[in-house]
Symmetry: D3
Amino acid sequence: MKKEIIALYPGSFDPLTNGHLDIITRASRLFPTLIVAITKNLNKNHLFSLEDRIDMLKESVSDMHNVKVVSFSGLLANYFDEMKANVLIRGLRAVSDFEYEFQMALMNRNLNANFETVFLMPDQDYTFLSSSMIKEIAMLGGDTKDFVPACVEKKLKQIKKQNQ
Amino acid sequence: MKKEIIALYPGSFDPLTNGHLDIITRASRLFPTLIVAITKNLNKNHLFSLEDRIDMLKESVSDMHNVKVVSFSGLLANYFDEMKANVLIRGLRAVSDFEYEFQMALMNRNLNANFETVFLMPDQDYTFLSSSMIKEIAMLGGDTKDFVPACVEKKLKQIKKQNQ
Amino acid sequence: MKKEIIALYPGSFDPLTNGHLDIITRASRLFPTLIVAITKNLNKNHLFSLEDRIDMLKESVSDMHNVKVVSFSGLLANYFDEMKANVLIRGLRAVSDFEYEFQMALMNRNLNANFETVFLMPDQDYTFLSSSMIKEIAMLGGDTKDFVPACVEKKLKQIKKQNQ
Amino acid sequence: MKKEIIALYPGSFDPLTNGHLDIITRASRLFPTLIVAITKNLNKNHLFSLEDRIDMLKESVSDMHNVKVVSFSGLLANYFDEMKANVLIRGLRAVSDFEYEFQMALMNRNLNANFETVFLMPDQDYTFLSSSMIKEIAMLGGDTKDFVPACVEKKLKQIKKQNQ
Amino acid sequence: MKKEIIALYPGSFDPLTNGHLDIITRASRLFPTLIVAITKNLNKNHLFSLEDRIDMLKESVSDMHNVKVVSFSGLLANYFDEMKANVLIRGLRAVSDFEYEFQMALMNRNLNANFETVFLMPDQDYTFLSSSMIKEIAMLGGDTKDFVPACVEKKLKQIKKQNQ
Amino acid sequence: MKKEIIALYPGSFDPLTNGHLDIITRASRLFPTLIVAITKNLNKNHLFSLEDRIDMLKESVSDMHNVKVVSFSGLLANYFDEMKANVLIRGLRAVSDFEYEFQMALMNRNLNANFETVFLMPDQDYTFLSSSMIKEIAMLGGDTKDFVPACVEKKLKQIKKQNQ
């Protein structure tokens, strides 16, 4: 194996949680290059703008020198080739994750024979975390500082204030 | 990331199936060095001797130049450090796999903080394969040539003959 | 253990089913005080108004003397403390319930260390029941009398008539 | 058993996939008459009109002589009796399918004691297919020709063009 | 479809439960001929002899005129062809059943392309029943009359007496 | 509710883990009386004698004044009545636990209509723990001090020495 492996970690990161950050840290230790790719996906109802999501991610991974943050639209199976990626990174927390991720991984392999997915497991302190739960807690006035990076917590509070 | 990643793929391989071989192939493309480690585990009732299991594996991976075949006894979490491994490889086929593997991965992380497990998905043609099914089919006189490497099929037929 | 345990059973009850009522009955036998707490949750698209949901619940539990019906908004983990509750009641019907409930219970424990969740199992005649199925059946003109209390069935028929 | 069994395979088929077609083929070999029943369900946001869904299904099953294509609205448990059906056909791909289908089958048996559901398993090449994934891939410009009948692929491309 | 469908329902039936009998009844209504095939499987530790298992099954299905009781050894995929069967019957009670049955069904399809498996759901009163639980309860002196046919209950009591 | 609730927590506790102890602590806070009932079950191959299992449990719960440790044989559904218990306590860690426990709880309700099971969730630090894993780790020379009470750890080391 001479080629340098490029790993791709896609997601909407709306917003980035400590669980995502944990997966990014683990993947960055295993592979020479890690590209974190934020889905643009204009139709979906995001709480954070693409710009905010990029900024929060860039700030949070600034000390990991082999991690790049990008955004993309279109089919993941095509973007994977475009980026000359060799492996897709996905986090697994629960059985329900597993089934959906498995189905996606099989579909991607059918769309692109080069596609390889590896699943990583976040720290057990983060197995219950999801972006949608974080948003719900923040909008109900709950404290999210144990669940997201500081820059995300600050933004969540700003949005909560604007909505009042 | 300067260090060269060493991946460890443990199992009893009693016997090696095409599903295992598929995982080995995928892992060998992702990581610079892959050590396939056969558990000695004297108590368990294996169909194949350790020697046979080593031979069949060595023959089957002979063309993958970054793959080594070894055997080990004792605690996996200790052996992982002994081999200076950075990542453990596990295949995932089904929800039941997932739960057991998750539990093992969490336990291993508790025993050894360096422990990292990555899960790979075999080709969908192999999702139904397991060593125990292969043994049952072979012992009932079924044809296993689509499910195991040729050297394993041959050995299975020999054992079947001896048992008659 | 000297203190009197207060149990909290939260839900949207849109509408109350016989499955919910079965869980309420079981919990009311196990704990000195049971508070059934209806979520206000203004954003969600409910079929029944909060007033109707409160009325149907109050009518259905009128003969259980240690059961109180209330409504609440905001974060459950805070409301739990406000009510001096000691234990949260949740019903479990299926694996999919289990995963979601587990995730919620872990999150709630992280938000509030006092949080304790107990899971009860409804009668096996009710394992297939859900409020959303009831609504769908009623709106398609199906008979719901075996699945909900009489007062709920009556209200469902009224709404069905108004929608025609 | 003298009576001729009538099997009913309901769905929204928005659009028909090769997985659906595989289930239809299998069911048509097992039962004398198979009725494929497309749900009208006006509320749901379908990509294809009912007419298009009927046309694509009729074209795709034209060579199966015991298969009829119809559409229906209202409660499935009633329509089942109306069509004098004896058995409902459902495809199972994954654990998450299973739980939902089980719940539906129990509910239908409670609504109509004659109700019998049989579950068939599609070819393993189709276990990852779903109509919603197909639509997402097509709308992102991906190639769906391995996943749907030719007439569906053509229609998907037309819709994609109109949306641009 | 001119040919008469032959359905095969294999199992060890050690012993027959009301859940098995329910599946047999349902399958016998759907298919012209149903063969209930008891696995000989000499290695396994059965509580009941093959003769007893055959007798109890024959007595329990005596009023279903299209049901035959046989025993077999060897590979199910071969026996299926030998009996000119068109469809295999399996009961599904829970997610864990589902995964194992799915794996078996895929394996059987790989061993024999004609293989078709249909899954039936027992009455919800029987979803918790298994032969191993019945044996455990009977051997601990529990009452099994609600869970097995009368002839099985009688035999269980005899065995319990002999073991004392 | 005037009667004092008696809770029963059965298990083989071979050996007691920190996960069991966590469930005992939680249950003892919720119910006036908690009986921890160790199954004698002579057939099963236990690592620890019944006496050792009783001693280790008694030592570990000595500071919980409403907890009693007993042993029992025979049918749990009968023992439940004998002890005038009102509720059975079970811990849930994973989906696989859930299915088995659900089946047992339904069976027990069928054997004894008074039977009520409540499920508690251990601390997330213990979700991966099981007695069988603990035994395996200890016998392979691993360190179990984070997973079991001190008295259990000591006993495990003694047994390990004796086996060498």
